[in-house]
Symmetry: C2
Subunit: 226 residues, 2 copies
DNA sequence: CACCGCACAAGTGTTGACAATCTTGGCTTC
DNA sequence: GAAGCCAAGATTGTCAACACTTGTGCGGTG
């Protein structure tokens, strides 16, 4: 190999290359650090193998995403999300995903339409087989596909931010008995409306679906499991 | 005054105290730095009288707000918002403010209701007198009051972020001939629906209003003035 | 004359150290 | 014995200097 210039040619990464931030985000989402837990910069340095400067930048980024909270001179904590906040966040997700669903209904191609249908079919099967973990995955895949179809980058970014703040709540939710069976027809209605290229119906269906998620959240809270 | 302990008792500020970030944000919103303009850290240090460390943190924060864009090793620019993006941002604002309006309709007190009515009255007068600048102020005040009534902090934050990204567009918009006259009845409908404590009507009215803003944006673009 | 390579300059990325601030544990005082 | 105070340790805030990347203009070459 003749005299390679300096570094590897670096893949055409656009603006990524922030391993520390991603690692820290993943750790928080995976529950390595629990809500309310203090995040000491020096400790994070060791655990993530990065310098304090990098850690600090990562914390600032995650604070902007709403995952951590930094108080001046007091450090950073994993943000603790109250029940009311969880509802608010889901309400925002409801209207945003409604917007996205409506737009997907106007932009969907025939090919994408059948892909939607296929996911719906798989969902039906998963519920029938009581494979709830699988259903949860399909759920994510469906919402993501709809976002892909709609290509609404502004809404996408916000939805992702909202979703990230609730991973823990969402997770407990999908294990609620009877929940998959309840949401299946809602998902089917969404797919149907988009395939029918009816923005209004798609938005309506998506909002009804997420409204029922909020109901589920409320019932969870009532039992004291939030 | 006998032997004050150390520092002033510090007013109950929660997490503010970032003068550099605020100054930079204001400068961008005021048009001191134009969209696309390069923001060189060293220059900002002089102009804002802060060290590079502080400037850098401020840039990162504003990047999270979508006001600036930072590219690795290439520095920061004031973010340039394309027409399509402006529409997307306004669409997001539409559904979020719709959500807020609906909630305001369920939470509004009698006192707040009359305050809403008063703003509507002042708006009518401003349009009659062709005081467009005043109308624009009242417009902001109305939207802010509705947010105050709804107390939806999650939505508020996002709406503010969206709004900040469009200050320049918004400004040119309010000068469109005939625009205030067109939006006045829309605003009146919003106020009416909230006073009637009808969430559905309030959301509908707010969305119709902002949809018409999007229409106005589109017509501006068609003329090539975006 | 156009093109390629190189070196320099501008600007950003990162580091380590130092200063300011907060917290904790122990001591004094009532 | 309890409350308040003080000092030491721990942790964050800030800085100035250094390393690296990128863009650009100059000179050489076909």
């Amino acid at each position: 190999m003749p005299a390679q210039r300096k570094a590897a040619p670096r893949p055409p990464v656009a603006s990524a290359d922030t391993p520390a931030r991603d690692a820290l985000r993943k750790a928080i989402l995976d529950g390595v650090y629990l809500p309310g837990e203090r995040l000491v910069e020096a400790s994070l340095c060791e655990q993530l193998g990065a310098s304090r400067f990098i850690i600090r930048a990562a914390l600032a980024d995650l604070a902007a995403e709403g995952l951590v909270e930094v108080q001046r001179n007091k450090g950073a904590h994993v943000r603790k999300i109250s029940f009311e906040e969880a509802v608010e966040i889901t309400e925002v997700r409801m209207v945003l995903e409604g917007l996205v669903a409506a737009r997907a209904a106007t932009l969907v191609t025939d090919e994408q339409a059948s892909e939607l249908d296929e996911i719906a079919l798989l969902m039906r099967r998963a519920v029938a087989a009581e494979e709830f973990r699988r259903y949860s995955d399909l759920n994510q895949r469906l919402h993501r596909l709809i976002q892909t179809i709609a290509r609404h980058r502004t809404a996408d970014r916000l939805i992702e931010t909202m979703r990230a703040q609730l991973v823990r709540h969402q997770y407990t939710l999908s294990l609620l008995p009877g929940r998959p069976a309840a949401s299946l027809p809602q998902h089917e209605r969404i797919v149907e409306a988009i395939r029918a290229r009816s923005p209004k119906a798609a938005e309506e269906a998506m909002r009804a679906h997420i409204a029922s998620v909020i109901e589920a959240l409320r019932s969870l809270e009532a039992v004291g499991l939030s």
